[in-house]
Symmetry: C2
Subunit: 879 residues, 2 copies
């Protein structure tokens, strides 16, 4: 059925838009336009199956195929009233490939085919000498490339030789004699390289070109492209043969492209550019600077009006922004190609929202017109693409955005300089929790070690701070206060710029552009959140972060880490007392002082998220992180605690761990040092009552971290659950019993593989689950986020792993454990609330949103909240 | 049906041995003996269900119960021709508890019940005054304890008071007047403490005693005992009432215990002891020193003959060594209790083997007569139980056995002292791979930190070296060269003794006894290995260890670690060159030198295991372990490598890891530094060909460690599999093609959770699986063996975890992942070989052996091989 030819001319066509598999996308598209009465050059499409035949036939054209093509030419001659190869009324054609899936630039095209030394004379008679020889040289240039396999640089040589000889600025200044010379040079080139003349026989030109198109399907670059884009080699390409229309005929001719809306802003205006006296390739190739479409009003106003009319028709038909390629032949408009327009992220939102408001799209459809990465691009400042850049190194793009600043090598310097109003970039080998204030003060963070989820990377993303990590080619020479990049030395306080979206490290201050959230995006987010079932929460540790998360649309906090205040300088001595003091009274008092700070923190974050649930993770980090690290701190601590140095060292050494990620942390600390959790729970109840008594609706939740045995949860509930109840009663009584504390659920984090495997047992003792991807991924892979950069680099090079598992959710391993945990948990306790806490990639797994395992919420970094909302809406709409 | 009374007398019984649930074990046992015609005192058992009734009835005896007991008494009177409470022909009885599960010493017993001031006169007439009052005082002593709740110390007071007054050495020297006085004092004691006289009415004595027995079921110590031994509180106790027979009647009377075989050695001889003129309690309580049973031949030869005859009958009936309690009443033998005899580990093997050879047991049955811990006890030297001991601390029992030596605080000292022939105990905070030679040289290892699977513990077990770890109460004061235990200071070179079976640390040199493997054990092991399907292999790294493993019965090596040679002093500089040299020629040469050493190692271990498979794990450890650690080493390395110090430091810092267990290790090193694996594979092929060309049958296997993504395995097979083939061809050609290299399978270790979850995909590229419990447990729990000691201590105290997951296999979490991996692997590739590598606890999971998931072999430390073989045989026989 498909081993036949598909003819089309304006108003009629054998094929239509539904047949890209048979006709290729270009052929199907042209057929559709023709059917709609759009002015397109007449032509025919030979279906894709012949490409396969060609390959199986030892790369030879079959008689059946040739017969079909000749039949097509005959029909084309009839339709155009011209004759292929005629020297009096010649039909020239374009021959283009047309795969079912677009493979831009991969395959061959020859225009103006059918011209020769005789035909050119007929063209000369029809449109003048310049037009005729311009057309001839265009044919030759393409033929030499496509059929003879010469590189562009070689076939361009005749034009530039003649241009230089005659000092011609661009192709439009070539007169007929110049073009004649170019044609002679091109013909000589063929003789030189191929040892023969360019075929004068139009049919020979045709067969040779078609063979070249078919062969180009199997070229190594095309095969590579298909392998990368996962396109089957079996699809094959169609062949489209169309009558030529000539944008290069005269000054009432030209070629251009036109978008039905502004692809950069989404504004509702036809936007495009064109060149007079040119064929389409000239516009794309940039041989001359094209004019904006609006200027066509001065040159050919009736053509512009017709084009604008067609824009409306096409957009209504295709229900999306269209990218149109057109040619004007002596004042007559032809459309050569129409397709969905690529657009900027900002435009994507604007167009989706406008099309809904124009009644073209439903809101549901609009949700699928924007891609997750559009949010990513939209919400961040980036480097000005036009700015001059001098790259010194490239690291891992850990937290997007771009920032410039003077480099400093310590957190303290960063704070100091920032206080003076300086923009600084903090540069460190790697960061520790001590550096948090410095990271906060800096415009961006650059580390020479660590991976995408190293401490610095996580903190920076959490703060929405631009960050590049693992820049192994850089070396900090602390003694010289210099950052060394190969032979380049950048002194402290010199400017650099980092791009957290690409990982680039650039010398000096590079201009950035700020992005704004348009009203379109806001509207879009509103719609998205009205569709999805799984709520989206954010990970946030402070009131500031919570407020930012809320602005991004977060419906709660899924992970509030509580260690931060322990690093605050004013808390540090209390932390030491609490953990190391020999005097138990002193320890108690230290805990009381810490409780005060913690209470304030909790109150602030709960208030910022009023009306929403805030899941507070009890203390998780190994204690050693909070103890004196530097000699000076150690001396201070020793004096503060009045403990002999060797005893203090002995105690501290007992807290050292060979693998802290697997060590004495999480609920294991809660068991060994219950005072810490008791302090935190007490502070939480106080903070809650503070707010409730002021009429504020707060919804705290308590999470027990890093559980691996049901005994841990049972123990913790018995110890801390009872305490919680007691404290609530006590605080309520303090307020005379007039204010009721809300219920504070007690949940468990599932972040060890074993917790996932015993989730049914955990469910019996937990009010909710929080599945944490960070530790679970580390443990499932046996991989440390801080140590993985060196070998992951090699893994990517060698194709062993495509992505860093710490940044791209591992659905196969980690996802299996999470789904398993959900199933076990739901079976044991159907009503249990289940949240999934992802740092990155909330878009990675559809089961998070599609209701298949019943996730109540997904939590991710603030910055990713809109993406998660989009994915959630899409999943809800497709499931 | 069971709410009735069960009567028994020699030759007939209502119950039998199958009814311990109804009658208690004692009642069922007595009924069985009676049925068999064994001479037992007549009596009856009131079934256990009345105990429950008693509790539910407000601790009151019901009329129905009393009626039954009275009916029992009547039947007993008829059987014995005596009358309860009669002053002319009195029946005295014993009243004993009898739970379905034995609870030794937990519950009350009263003997000689039914005596009073009148009845005693009748006994006096029957057997003399001394007999009568000895019997009376025995009743009173027991009654005061059981019914009045007086402590033993108080009720013994009258005997000791009178004994002191009259200077009597033991109870046998008390004459009748003395015993009369004791009886008076005991009666006075009752009056004093209870405010009333001892009941004279035998029935009142009976009811009070029964109430006391029932109440003792609910005493706090009995409840605690049941809770510890997981015995249900609902079982309840039966009541056994028997006619008294009197071992204290005269010099032709006595009491004793007898084993049908020697419970210590297993030798085939009746072994026991007895006392003349005594009741059974005297033998156990040790009031006088009993005589060996053999002496009975001089006193009552016909009784000894009868007893020996009964021993044979009972052993044949019960098909096991029996522990018999007997009484002789005026020359007549009565058996009071018969049960399976407890025996030493050595005896367990001997008896099992002998019983098979005597045709009493089948070999299959014998397998169940020995417990895994019997092997443990048998194969190790232990402390002499009779030696004087002064304990200074207790740590974790990491590697069993006992050792004494002078303490040293460094591996170097240990080596030096050992070279001088000194026995030393190496005492360290914790150990590192540097210490291996020192551990090897020492008699034992003691660490103050680290858990059961810390580095030191593993190395020590591997070497079969006694080891105590995590002895937190000890502190090494390096400056003073002193080990501090509280206030005790032990100087360097002072003697200590450690017991790796208990964790005890003792002052000075405590005598140890060496254990020997008896021929019985060897025979037993032969049988065991004939039954089981899953082979048992050992983990061994050297030829020496392999030879030891073979002696233990190992059928192959399941895990041969290959890092050891990299620590050898003569290799170290080559390791530095291989990893750090800038000159690539120098690196290649260093690898060539390492290959020579590795080849020798491989050849030795393969030869030691000829005919058996040896699974060689490619290099796994983080590289930093092999680089200079101390300043001196660093200087040496710097000179050796001729690299500037700061560059060397920079490179080394790049190899540092924050969590080495999750870091750049295992196959990740193979990808980043393929030269290491290439060197090892080359060495292995060379070693194999060396041996094969000498006609030795060797079967090496290669294992890729720490895989978490299928890409790693594919990459490694492509790179190293191809190399392997090439090297084999090359080496075969070197030998003129006359010698064929055996097939060397390439397998994958499944030791990350993710590897277990994608085992189906891994199976497609692996010849075998090796499931490794060590890393898998660490990752499943998120727990580091080196960091867990501090909180696991608390976990045990608080009952959160019963065991250290690193030493007791976690079947619930780790086992789930392993079974999942086996199922996925078998489904994808049914013929794949699957081994499980456990460091400890090969006995923990039955699925390893029962064929349910098809494990081909289990590998464990040499020391555990016999245990694994036993478990494997048992599983095979029961599945």
């Amino acid at each position: 059925m498909t081993a036949r030819l598909f003819f089309f001319r304006t108003g009629e066509a054998d094929g239509d838009a539904s047949m890209p598999g048979i006709l290729g996308s270009k052929g199907a598209n042209l057929a559709q336009l023709a059917r709609m009465g759009i002015p397109v050059p007449s032509g025919f499409t030979v279906p894709t199956l012949f490409a396969k035949e060609f390959q199986e036939n030892g790369q030879k054209l079959s008689p059946k195929f040739c017969e079909l093509v000749l039949d097509g030419i005959t029909r084309l001659e009839a339709a155009t009233q011209k004759t292929f190869g005629s020297v009096s009324n010649p039909l020239l054609v374009s021959v283009r490939s047309g795969a079912p899936v677009s493979m831009p630039g991969m395959m061959e095209t020859v225009l103006n085919l059918g011209i020769n030394d005789e035909v050119v004379k007929s063209l000369e008679a029809e449109g003048g000498e310049r037009f005729a020889f311009d057309t001839y040289r265009r044919f030759l240039e393409m033929y030499l490339q496509a059929v003879c396999g010469m590189p562009l640089l070689v076939v361009e040589q005749p034009m530039s030789t003649v241009g230089q000889e005659l000092s011609l600025s661009d192709d439009s200044s070539f007169d007929a004699p110049a073009l004649r010379r170019v044609v002679e040079l091109l013909k000589a080139l063929h003789r030189e390289k191929m040892g023969s003349d360019v075929p004068q026989n139009p049919h020979e030109q045709l067969w040779k070109t078609i063979e070249a198109v078919f062969k180009s399907w199997n070229s190594s670059r095309a095969r590579k492209y298909r392998s990368i884009h996962k396109i089957s080699d079996d699809l094959g390409t169609a062949i489209n043969v169309c009558e030529m229309v000539y944008g290069n005929r005269n000054n009432r001719s030209g070629a251009g492209v036109c978008f039905t809306r502004d692809p950069s802003t989404g504004a509702k205006a036809n936007v495009g550019e064109y060149l007079m006296c040119a064929q389409g390739e000239d516009v794309v190739a940039g041989v001359r600077t094209p004019k904006p479409l609006t200027e066509l009003a001065n040159e050919l106003p009736e053509v512009l009006t017709e084009l604008e009319g067609l824009c409306g028709v096409l957009e209504r038909h295709y229900r999306d922004i269209q990218d149109i390629e057109f040619t004007i032949d002596d004042g007559k408009l032809w459309l050569l190609q129409v397709r969905h327009g690529k657009r900027s992220s900002q435009a994507a939102f604007q167009i989706a929202v406008d099309l809904v408001e124009e009644g073209v799209l439903t809101r549901e459809e609009a949700i699928f017109r924007v891609e997750p990465q559009d949010f990513e691009r939209l919400l961040l400042p980036g480097l000005d693409p036009r700015a001059h850049k001098q790259m010194v190194s490239r690291g891992l793009p850990a937290s997007p955005g771009a920032a410039s600043g003077k480099i400093v090598f310590s957190a303290a310097d960063a704070e100091q300089q920032a206080l003076r109003g300086e923009d600084v970039i903090l540069v460190r080998e790697e960061t520790s929790p001590d550096d948090i204030a410095g990271i906060h003060a800096a415009r961006g963070l650059l580390t020479t070690r660590g991976g995408m989820t190293s401490h610095g990377a996580i903190v920076a993303r959490q703060m929405g701070k631009c960050c590049v990590v693992g820049c192994g080619s850089l070396q900090i020479i602390h003694g010289k206060r210099v950052l060394k990049a190969g032979t380049v030395e950048i002194l402290e306080h010199e400017w650099i710029t980092i791009d957290g979206g690409t990982g680039d490290v650039l010398l000096g201050k590079v201009a950035t552009r700020e992005a704004a959230i348009s009203p379109g995006v806001a509207t879009f987010l509103d719609w998205a959140s009205s569709f999805h079932k799984a709520k989206v929460r954010a990970n946030a540790d402070t009131a500031l972060e919570a407020a930012a998360a809320r602005k991004m649309g977060a419906k709660g906090i899924g992970l509030c880490r509580t260690e931060r205040i322990f690093f605050e300088p004013e808390c540090l001595s209390n932390v030491w007392s609490a953990l190391l003091a020999t005097d138990s009274r002193e320890r108690l008092e230290a805990f009381a002082r810490l409780r005060k700070v913690q209470r304030k923190e909790f109150a602030e974050i709960l208030e910022a998220m009023q009306g929403c649930e805030v899941a507070i993770r009890l203390f998780d980090h190994p204690l050693i992180e909070f103890l004196p690290r530097k000699e000076q701190e150690f001396v201070t601590a020793q004096e503060h605690l009045a403990i002999p140095g060797d005893i203090l060292k002995f105690r501290m050494r007992n807290l050292m761990q060979s693998n802290p990620a697997l060590g004495h942390r999480g609920c294991r600390l809660g068991v060994a040092y219950p005072e810490i959790y008791e302090m935190q729970i007490h502070a939480l109840v106080e903070a809650t009552m503070d707010l409730v008594s002021r009429g504020i609706d707060v919804r705290p939740q308590i999470m027990l971290p890093f559980v691996s045995a049901v005994g841990e949860l049972i123990w913790a509930r018995r110890r801390f659950g009872v305490l919680l109840d007691k404290l609530i009663v006590q605080e309520e009584e303090k307020l005379g019993g007039k204010v009721r504390c809300p219920w504070i659920p007690f949940g468990v984090m599932i972040e060890t593989p074993r917790a996932a495997l015993i989730a049914d047992k955990l469910a019996m003792h937990a009010d909710f689950f929080c599945l944490g991807s960070g530790d679970l991924t580390q443990l499932t892979f046996g991989l440390s986020r801080d140590d993985s950069a060196p070998f992951l680099r090699v893994y990517k090079q060698e194709g062993i792993l495509d992505n860093d598992p710490m940044t791209s959710f591992d659905n196969e391993g980690v996802g299996y454990l999470m789904r398993h945990a959900c199933e076990l948990g739901r079976r044991a306790k159907p009503e249990i609330q289940i949240g999934v806490c992802l740092e990155e990639s909330p878009e990675a797994a559809s089961w998070l949103y599609d209701g298949s395992v019943g996730i109540d919420y997904v939590s991710c970094s603030s910055f990713r909240v809109p993406i998660a909302m989009l994915i959630a809406a899409r999943s809800a709409l497709t499931s």
